[in-house]
Structures are given as structure tokens and as C-alpha cells.
């Protein structure tokens, strides 16, 4: 089974990140998991990788409500390297409720491929892998 190189979790809630990391590791689908607590840290991280010519994360799980810089603002900043991101990275937005407003807004952003409910379950992750990475989990 092909493994992803890396997944970036962007969320300020420790419990959520713990859970997501657990699910990812249990499914054994990627080599590295990065965790950033807000949009600014996440963007600096990505920028650094980009400048050093290193590969960007295959999958970004992006929360909306975060301090310092929230999910929307992060996406705004990413527009500068939008081209590179679209080629290599899938961004998924995560939220606690199916707010139609947020969903509509996310559909307006190219980089965001889907919009799902927290918490991420193994089923959802399987679905994401098969849809965007063509990876079938045994």
C-alpha cells in the first residue's frame, strides 16, 4: 500500500490533534505527521519547506476557528504559493457543524478539495484516501 509522505494537521485543540494523529497512525497511511496550532505557524512551516525546495505535505487537515490566524486567513496567505500547493497538496477543511455558510465559502476556494465534519473518523479518512490519492486501505 502506498504511503503518503506527510500529513499536516492545523488545529488549536490538543484533543482533536491527538485523536487525528491516533487515527492516522492506526491506519498506518503516512510516514510523518506534522502538527501546527494556528494558521500562522502552519503557513511559516509551509513557506520554509517551499523555500528549501522540500516537498510539501500531501494532505492538510485545516480547522477553521483558531487564534492568531484562522483557517480562512491561512488560505488567503497561501494564495501566494497557490500554484505549487494545488499541484502537490490536498487541503480539507474541518468543522464541528455543517454550517451552510462555511461550506459555501469553502467551495469558492480552489485549493480546498472538501469540507468535512470533525472529528475525522477512519471511515472518512479511507474515503478521502481513495478519492484523492487512489489509495485503497486494506
Amino acid at each position: 500500500m502506498r504511503k503518503l509522505k506527510s500529513i499536516l494537521l492545523v488545529d488549536d485543540d490538543n484533543a482533536t490533534n491527538f485523536l487525528h494523529e491516533l487515527v492516522i497512525n492506526q491506519m498506518n497511511i503516512c510516514e510523518e505527521v506534522f502538527v501546527k496550532k494556528n494558521g500562522l505557524d502552519a503557513f511559516s512551516f509551509i513557506e520554509e519547506l517551499d523555500e528549501n525546495g522540500k516537498p510539501l505535505p500531501d494532505l492538510i487537515l485545516l480547522d477553521i476557528n483558531m487564534p492568531v490566524m484562522n483557517g480562512w486567513e491561512f488560505l488567503e496567505r497561501c494564495k501566494t504559493i497557490e500554484k505549487r500547493i494545488s499541484e502537490t497538496t490536498i487541503i480539507l477543511m474541518l468543522t464541528t457543524s455543517l454550517n451552510p455558510e462555511d461550506k459555501r465559502r469553502s467551495q469558492g476556494v480552489e485549493m480546498v478539495k472538501d469540507y468535512i465534519n470533525k472529528p475525522l473518523s477512519s471511515d472518512t479518512l479511507e474515503d478521502v484516501l481513495s478519492r484523492f490519492f487512489g489509495v485503497e486501505v486494506g
Binding site: 484533543a15 482533536t16 485523536l19 464541528t96 457543524s97 470533525k118 472529528p119
Partner: protein, 543 residues
């Protein structure tokens, strides 16, 4: 009636009104004392002079001679018109406010005006009298003044007696009958008086030029007016606090002075005090007229202010409701995240520590999980409640289609429970389609959920067309609801059964209530324990 009469603006009005009335009343007397001559004595026609004048001169001569009669007619007729106009306005006000006393006063004024008209027409011989004008004019004046005083007295006294003995007012029909009988009574008396005056060859003498009291018949109305002005009308005003009764009270000032000028001053027809009295009589009708016109103006202004206030209150209410809904939404939205975390980790604990937890720990964990799930459902219910109607769209739709759609969505539940849905032909209505669908869905699922133990649910859905609204009924044969609970079940989170017996958050009917409120309707239930329930709701028909 005129509850804001004594606000700041109106204090100015009342003061000016009183001062104006009093000034106008003593003005003629002042002018008289300063030497202005108000008299127009009948010079008498000199046949010699007539023979020697040309025809134009003759016309002038005749007209000058009749100046007194003309002035008299003008003054009287002005009074009659004003009384008539006041009566009309009073009747209109009665129609609008339903206050019978306004109509009674109107009738009294109209009758008094009619007597004055009779007196005026008689004075210029348009109504022919048997007796001589020299007696006729003063006598009819005296009669009409007494009539005026008495009918006002009767009207006001009747009102005060009614108040004292606390008679109930009664409905429109009985009020109309009372007013009509009062009118007939007055008209009958007036008519009899008129006949008597016109047909009597000899009328009592009313003028006594050499005594102090030159016209004693005018004393009786004077006393009545004084009594009305000092005692009865102020009491009347205490009960009927409006501009009209206020003006009526103050109209006694010119009325009394009218009588005084006649009773003590006038010794001949068309002399100064005679004319002054007639002018003041017109003033005493003018005062209530101004009163009723001001009443209309004040009311109109009040209406405008009230409408503005209502508009503002409405806007504020809408704002508050919106704020509250936003608050509920945000609160429940933010509450979900920690609840979700609790659920996730308690599930993790259960999964990862299977077998490692003793019975007690397992039980504690189970309760934690169960409660968190319930909390999550409650929050979701609250969230949904706050969202109801947020994106409502008014459309015209066929309710049968809605039911058809629901049948499909609920077909699993319907089959499992062997539910029978009997739908009578439902109308096409105007409303919020999505919300109405949810409303019907909630009621149907409730009917299925609360079925009797071994009885398949039978649900009858029908709709009645009523005046201005549709009335829907969803009737079931389930376990029913005790009558004491039929109101509170529409409140949020209200449940009548333990969670062991029936699942659910108790928010379904609160949703229904909110949706029905959106449509300006009502929702209620007719039910008895074990006898099923009939849920009814109304939706307003569009014009």
C-alpha cells in the same frame, strides 16, 4: 378618550381656550360700556316718508328699517349652523368611538339648534304665527333657551345617575335604542312647543321693560346654566375626560352671560343687550364646536405618534428576536466542540480498554458516554431550532406533494410499524414549504412513535377551509396525552415519558410551534390518555 389630554402641549391649549372663551364673553359688555351701540331699534315705517321717496331710496329705507331683523337672523342662523355642525361631528365621533354620551350631547345640540331655527324663522315671518311678533319673538326666545337648558340638564343628569348607580353600558344595539328613544322624546317635546307657540293667539308676556328683571323667563335657564357650570358639568368632565366635555363645561360661561344680558339688560327686541345676547349665544355654541374640532385634531396627532411608536417597537422586537436567535446559534455551535471531544474520548476508552476495566468503571464510562450523546443531541436540537425559518422562502405548493415526499422518506418506519396513512384531499397553500414539510414530518413521526403497544398506527390527515385560514388535523390512535399536559408539550425539551420508554429530546413539538408561529397560526392538541391524539394547526391564508 383623549388620555393624553393633560400633556405639556395641551396645558397651553386649555389655558388659551379658557382665556379666549372668557374674553369673548365679556368683550361685548366692555364694548357696550365704552359706548358702542349694538342696538337696531325698529324705527317704524313712516308712510309719509315712503310716499316722498324714490324707489331706490325706498329699498334703502326698508332695508335700513329691517337691519335689526337681518342682524337677528344672521346671529341666530350662525348659532343654528354651528350647533348643527357640532351635532354632526358628535355623531361621527359616536360612530367611531361607540361612546353614547357624545351622541346624546349631539342630539341635545341638534334639538336646541332646531328650536333656535324655529325662533329665527318665526321672527322674520317665514313661519307664520298667530300672535304678534312683538310677543312671539321674545316668547320663542325664552322657550328655546329653556329647552336648551333643560335638555342639556337631562342629558348630563342621566349620565351622572347612570355612573352613580353603576349601570352597565350594554352593547351597540341597546346604546342605539337608548339614543333613539332620547331623540324621539326631545323631538316630540320640541314639536309640541313649536305648535303651541305658532298657534296660540295670546302668548304670555315675557318682557317687562320697567322692572329690574326685564325678562324673568330668562332667569330659569340662567340658574340651570350656573348649576351646570359649577356642579354638574365639572362632575361630567371628571368621568368623560376629553376636549369636548371640557369645552361643554366652559361654554356655560357665555351661556350664563347670554341669559344675564337678556334677563337684566334687554327691554325691547333688537336693543343692544338683545343683540349682545344673540351674539353670545352663538359663542356658547361655538365653544363646544371648537372643543370637538380640537378633539379630532389631538386624536389625529396622537394616532400619528402612536403609529410611529408601534413601528419603532416592531423594529426593536424584530431586532431582539434576531439577536436571540443568533445567540442561541452561536452558543450551541460552540458548545458542540467540547461535547464532541468527550464523546470521542469516552468511545476511545471503551474501545481500547475493553476487558481491562472492571464492571464499575465500565458502567461509569457507559453513563458518561450516554449523557454526552444526549447532550450532543440536545445541542443539535437547539441549533436546529434556532435555524428554523432562517432561510425561509414563501411559495405556493400542494400539500399532497409534501405528504407524498414524506411517505417516501419515512417508508422504512411506516412499513416496520405497519402504519396506515389516510390522507384526505389537502389544499394548495401559500407558506414556507421546507418548514411545513418539517412540521408534518414531526407530527407524523410522533404519531408513529407513540403508538399503542400492539396496535398498528392509523394516522388521519385532513384539512378544513376556514375564514382566513386553513386548519389541518393529524389524528392518531396512539397512547394519547393527558389533558393537563396538552399545553406544555409544545415547550422546548419537554418530555412526558422516561428515556427508557421512548427516545427523543423533546424538541420536536417546539419546532412545530415555531414553524406554526412563522405562519401566524396556532397549534394545539385534543387528546385523552389512551384515546389517541388529534394535533391541529392553522396556517393563515394569503389575501
Amino acid at each position: 378618550m383623549g388620555a393624553t389630554f393633560f400633556s405639556g402641549v395641551n396645558k397651553l391649549f386649555t389655558r388659551s381656550f379658557i382665556i379666549g372663551t372668557c374674553l369673548l364673553t365679556i368683550l361685548p359688555c366692555m364694548l357696550f360700556l365704552m359706548g358702542i351701540d349694538f342696538s337696531h331699534h325698529l324705527h317704524g315705517i313712516n308712510t309719509e316718508e315712503i310716499r316722498e321717496s324714490t324707489s331706490t331710496d325706498l329699498n334703502r329705507y326698508i332695508l335700513i328699517n329691517f337691519a335689526g331683523a337681518f342682524i337677528h337672523l344672521l346671529l341666530e342662523w350662525s348659532a343654528v349652523i354651528i350647533a348643527g355642525a357640532t351635532a354632526v361631528l358628535a355623531f361621527v365621533q359616536y360612530k367611531v368611538t361607540g361612546n353614547p354620551i357624545t351622541a346624546i350631547i349631539g342630539v341635545a345640540l341638534l334639538c336646541a339648534g332646531s328650536m333656535d331655527a324655529f325662533h329665527a324663522l318665526a321672527a322674520i315671518n317665514l313661519i307664520d304665527s298667530v300672535a304678534d311678533n312683538k310677543d312671539f319673538i321674545p316668547f320663542t326666545w325664552a322657550i328655546s333657551r329653556m329647552f336648551n337648558a333643560v335638555i342639556l340638564l337631562i342629558g348630563v343628569v342621566t349620565f351622572l345617575l347612570k355612573k352613580r348607580y353603576n349601570r352597565k353600558e350594554g352593547n351597540q344595539k341597546s346604546k342605539n335604542i337608548q339614543i333613539l328613544s332620547f331623540t324621539i322624546f326631545l323631538v316630540a317635546i320640541a314639536y309640541l312647543l313649536v305648535i303651541y307657540c305658532a298657534q296660540s293667539a295670546v302668548l304670555p308676556q315675557t318682557m317687562f321693560p320697567d322692572s329690574l328683571i326685564t325678562r324673568p323667563y330668562d332667569l330659569f335657564p340662567l340658574v340651570v346654566f350656573v348649576v351646570m357650570g359649577i356642579w354638574l358639568l365639572p362632575r361630567f368632565y371628571k368621568y368623560e375626560r376629553n376636549v369636548f366635555s371640557f369645552a361643554l363645561m366652559w361654554s356655560m360661561v357665555p351661556a350664563v352671560v347670554t341669559q344675564a344680558h337678556m334677563a337684566f339688560g334687554s327691554s325691547d327686541i333688537y336693543d343692544a343687550h338683545f343683540n349682545i345676547s344673540h351674539a353670545l349665544k352663538a359663542v356658547s355654541y361655538l365653544v363646544p364646536f371648537v372643543g370637538i374640532v380640537m378633539d379630532y385634531i389631538f386624536r389625529y396627532r396622537e394616532e400619528i405618534v402612536r403609529i410611529e411608536e408601534l413601528k419603532l417597537a416592531h423594529i426593536k422586537l424584530e431586532q431582539k428576536t434576531k439577536e436571540q436567535e443568533q445567540f442561541t446559534y452561536i452558543a450551541s455551535h460552540d458548545l458542540q466542540e467540547p461535547v464532541r471531544t468527550v464523546i470521542s474520548f469516552s468511545e476511545l476508552l471503551e474501545k481500547q480498554y475493553v476487558g481491562q476495566l472492571d464492571d464499575k468503571a465500565a458502567k461509569y464510562l457507559f453513563f458518561i458516554n450516554e449523557a454526552s450523546v444526549r447532550m450532543s443531541e440536545l445541542i443539535k436540537g437547539l441549533l436546529d431550532y434556532s435555524c428554523i425559518g432562517a432561510e425561509k422562502k414563501m411559495e405556493t405548493f400542494d400539500c399532497n406533494d409534501v405528504i407524498g415526499g414524506l411517505r417516501k422518506d419515512l417508508h422504512l418506519v411506516i412499513e416496520e410499524s405497519n402504519t396506515v396513512l389516510n390522507i384526505s384531499s389537502l389544499p394548495t397553500i401559500q407558506g414556507y414549504k421546507v418548514e411545513v414539510r418539517l412540521l408534518l414530518q414531526n407530527l407524523i413521526t410522533n404519531a408513529i412513535k407513540f403508538k399503542k403497544k400492539d396496535v398498528s398506527p392509523v394516522i388521519d390527515i385532513s384539512c378544513d377551509s376556514k375564514l382566513g385560514y386553513w386548519q389541518f388535523e393529524i389524528k392518531d390512535n396512539g397512547i394519547g396525552i393527558a389533558e393537563v399536559h396538552t399545553e406544555r408539550i409544545f415547550s422546548i425539551f419537554q418530555r412526558l415519558h422516561s428515556r427508557d420508554d421512548y427516545a427523543g429530546t423533546g424538541i420536536g413539538l417546539a419546532h412545530c410551534q415555531k414553524i406554526v408561529d412563522l405562519h401566524n397560526g396556532e397549534i394545539w392538541v385534543d387528546s385523552k390518555i389512551n384515546e389517541g391524539a388529534a394535533f391541529c394547526f392553522t396556517i393563515k391564508k394569503e389575501e
